[in-house]
């Protein structure tokens, strides 16, 4: 294939990703501006009556909720995912790059302890003990994601870290940072991107489940993930209250991943 053709395909993919991601992102960013005043409540889970997408589990207008509900999702999920990697990356990279078994154990084994406790249970337990707010929740969700992410980083980085290229960098007295991030981190980008896409989605729903358990945002918060979770009882009577926010989330995550993929591909590979 020639360069122009692949380039065209690549830009196509890029714009597809952008288009898919734009819908939820724009809604999230601009939605609150257009939401206007909440009208009076109606009976929960009804269709019609001036409500475009019907009413939700407490009789609010679903469209209004959709407009309002993107910001928190996007923010908390992104923040929690970013936070998780903020911890997991250094931990995973340090333990992949060190030759001290002891250090690796000190870093990784305690995380295994966290792995042994089901994440939802951990959130439930910690939350009822400390009753955190929205920021605390993001922290908590990030925390339960760290062990997992760290292990994946460690596994992917371990292989790269043993290459002669890393030895050569050491020989040059290169900083840890450049070796770890500039070289190893960069080489595992594809694996990281695949993992991040999945993690982002997992985080979204963890946040919403936690909301239901009384952690973080209010259980009736305007939040797409919370909407999906809380409106499920009405699925057969009023599907839009679940389907629309769920589709937006799907668009958000799929779009993000398409973007990731497209960007990674551009880097190109030479044998």
């Amino acid at each position: 294939m020639t360069d122009t053709k692949s380039l065209r395909r690549h830009t196509g993919r890029l714009s597809l990703g952008l288009a898919i991601v734009a819908v939820p992102l724009l809604l999230a960013l601009l939605g609150p501006l257009f939401a206007g005043d909440p009208g009076p409540r109606a009976v929960s889970f009804t269709l019609g009556g001036g409500h475009w997408l019907g009413t939700d589990f407490v009789g609010r207008d679903v469209w209004g909720q959709v407009l309002l509900g993107g910001r928190t999702v996007v923010l908390t999920a992104l923040a929690a995912t970013a936070l998780a990697y903020l911890v997991a990356l250094p931990v995973g990279l340090v333990s992949a790059l060190t030759h001290l078994r002891r250090l690796e154990d000190v870093l990784m084994r305690p995380l295994d302890v966290l792995l042994a406790v089901p994440s939802l249970l951990l959130i439930l337990l910690v939350a009822s003990v400390f009753s955190p707010g929205a920021a605390g929740l993001a922290l908590l969700v990030a925390l339960v994601n760290v062990p997992d992410a760290a292990r994946i980083v460690r596994a992917a980085a371990g292989e790269v870290a043993a290459r002669p290229a890393v030895e050569a960098l050491r020989m040059q007295g290169e900083t840890w940072w450049r070796i770890a991030v500039g070289h190893v981190g960069r080489s595992i980008l594809r694996t990281l991107a695949a993992d991040a896409g999945i993690r982002l989605t997992g985080v979204l729903y963890l946040v919403s489940t936690a909301a239901f358990l009384g952690v973080g945002v209010a259980p009736d918060a305007s939040d797409w993930a919370v909407m999906v979770d809380r409106n499920r009882t009405g699925l057969f009577v009023q599907p839009w209250a679940v389907v629309v926010p769920a589709l937006l989330i799907v668009a958000l995550t799929t779009g993000t991943n398409l973007l990731f993929d497209a960007v990674l591909e551009k880097k190109g590979r030479r044998p």
Partner: protein, 495 residues
């Protein structure tokens, strides 16, 4: 002058990248049972031409011309950097069996295994890999550089290809092994297989080749039967290539102060001792050659000195103070003082960044040079080693094997080291370039006073430049002495 029975043919091949022709107008006939050699300067397009026979081109290349293979013509390939084509997760045995298995397919099911195994063992023998049983169980990274190369050769032999493209098959091999490989390739050719030999080693070319093509800057400048070319080279460039072949031995140098000293070193890989070095010194301004058979422990010795191999007892002293075993614990000054140039240059570069950026970092990190100054220095050093500005700004994958080797040397030189350990750095270079490099190194030793060299090499020419030679045999340092003495009287190299 097309033959009817050519197994492969290249006509007017032109490979162009970013508007720059790296191979231009090359014609090549590959005849069964004949050895066709491509010689020429490093970066002249040998590998590119060889790969064209396999139908492979650099990504993004514009190719014109014609490459034709006879039907069913399997092409074997022994690449210049063998490590890259050996799957790190598979054992040597598995890598060979994969190729042997389809060939045993015609046999009844019960016999297949044994038949395949027999073929594998035979191929290893043919590729000069004794002690096959032990090697089969190892992973590629557990082999020495030369062993890796021979495993790849064994693969090509196993394949039963009609054409074998051997890219520098003898680099990194000791003289004995080399001669055996030459014999083996000759035998291969005798079986009617066409061999395309890409090599810098003119001895090997002379011994093997029927037809020689001399390349320069992507063009074939001269071609013909080997005897004629050797006797009466027509082109100026061919003449230079052949001339540089003969080098005068170096005069003894006065011994300076000891810089580096090794005491009671025993290095292990996975609990097996692979090297014992009770005592070894390197004086300042001295050039020490380390020779020995492939797999004898030369690289291990070098890696111990460089702090890349931690599993050893004993001490390495720099100016009388012990160096930490691991380079992680060495100070910047210590790192700068002892630099190592990797045997496999391709694996030692970060594939994502331009070469010059990587080379310059040494000066920035180890000598505290400013970013710009470092880049400038990198560019001048690279230029002295024959790499143009344009090449320097490419990524490693876009350079030829020899070019990368020189880049790796430049990277180490930028540290202004006191001890420079070079692991087969001239193996991928043509005689002219090699000569240039060795002269450059010799100049550095002379001018910079303090620089000492450790040259790990199989190449007698290179070894002859050393003041002293150490012979490593099966993990033991057996002979140390003046170069002349060892090379002429010693038994080390030839055994």
């Amino acid at each position: 002058m097309s033959h009817a029975d050519t197994v492969a043919e290249i006509r007017d091949l032109r490979v162009e990248i970013d508007g720059r022709a790296i191979v231009d107008g090359v014609d090549l006939q590959v005849l069964p049972g004949k050895v066709t050699a491509l010689v020429g300067a490093s970066g002249s397009g040998k590998t590119t031409t060889g790969l064209a026979l396999l139908g492979e081109y650099p990504p993004g290349a514009r190719v014109t011309g014609d490459v034709r293979l006879t039907e069913g013509g399997l092409v074997g390939y022994v690449p210049q950097h063998p490590a890259a084509v050996l799957n790190p997760a598979r054992r040597v045995g598995a890598l060979l069996h994969d190729i042997a298995r389809p060939q045993a397919r015609h046999l009844p099911r019960t016999e297949r295994r044994t038949a395949a195994r027999a073929r594998v063992l035979q191929a290893m023998l043919d590729a000069q890999l004794p002690d096959a049983e032990a090697l089969l169980r190892r992973h590629p990274h557990q082999l020495s550089g030369g062993q890796q190369q021979r495993v790849v050769l064994a693969q090509a032999l196993l394949l039963g290809a009609r054409v074998i493209v051997a890219d520098e098959p003898t680099t990194g091999q000791d003289a004995l092994t080399k001669s055996r490989i030459v014999d083996q390739l000759a035998a291969v050719a005798a079986r009617g297989i066409a061999v395309v030999l890409l090599s810098h080693d003119l001895d090997v070319v002379q011994a093997l080749a029927d037809e020689v093509l001399v390349m320069r800057a992507g063009r074939v400048v001269e071609s013909g039967p080997v005897e004629r070319l050797w006797l009466s080279p027509r082109h100026e460039w061919t003449r230079r290539l052949l001339e540089a072949h003969d080098a005068a031995p170096r005069e003894e140098a006065s011994a300076g102060q000891p810089v580096l000293e090794v005491r009671n070193m025993t290095a292990v890989h996975d609990r097996t001792t692979v090297l014992r070095a009770p005592h070894l010194t390197l004086n300042s301004g001295e050039c020490l050659a380390v020779v020995g058979r492939s797999g004898s422990g030369k690289t291990t010795l070098a890696r111990c000195l460089a702090g890349l191999h931690r599993d050893h007892d004993g001490e390495v002293l720099l100016d009388g103070t012990a160096l930490p075993h691991s380079l992680r614990h060495r100070s910047r000054a210590q790192l700068a003082a002892v630099q190592y140039v990797f045997q496999d240059a391709r694996a030692a570069f970060d594939e994502h960044r331009p070469v010059v950026a990587q080379v310059a970092r040494t000066a920035v990190r180890l000598r505290g040079a400013a970013e710009q100054a470092a880049t400038d220095e990198a560019l001048t050093t690279l230029a002295r080693l024959g790499l143009t500005d344009d090449m320097a700004h490419r990524r490693p994958a876009e350079l030829s094997g020899g070019e990368l080797q020189r880049a790796a040397l430049a990277r180490a030189l930028l540290a202004h080291p006191r001890v420079l350990i070079c692991d087969e750095i001239t193996s991928g270079l043509d005689t002219v370039t090699r000569r240039g490099i060795l002269d450059l190194l010799a100049g550095l030793v002379r001018d910079r006073g303090g620089l000492s060299l450790v040259l790990i090499t199989h190449d007698q020419e290179t070894a002859r430049l050393a003041h002293r030679v150490v012979v490593v045999d099966a993990g033991e340092l057996v002979e140390q002495g003046s170069a002349r003495w060892v090379l002429e009287a010693g038994t080390g190299l030839r055994t």
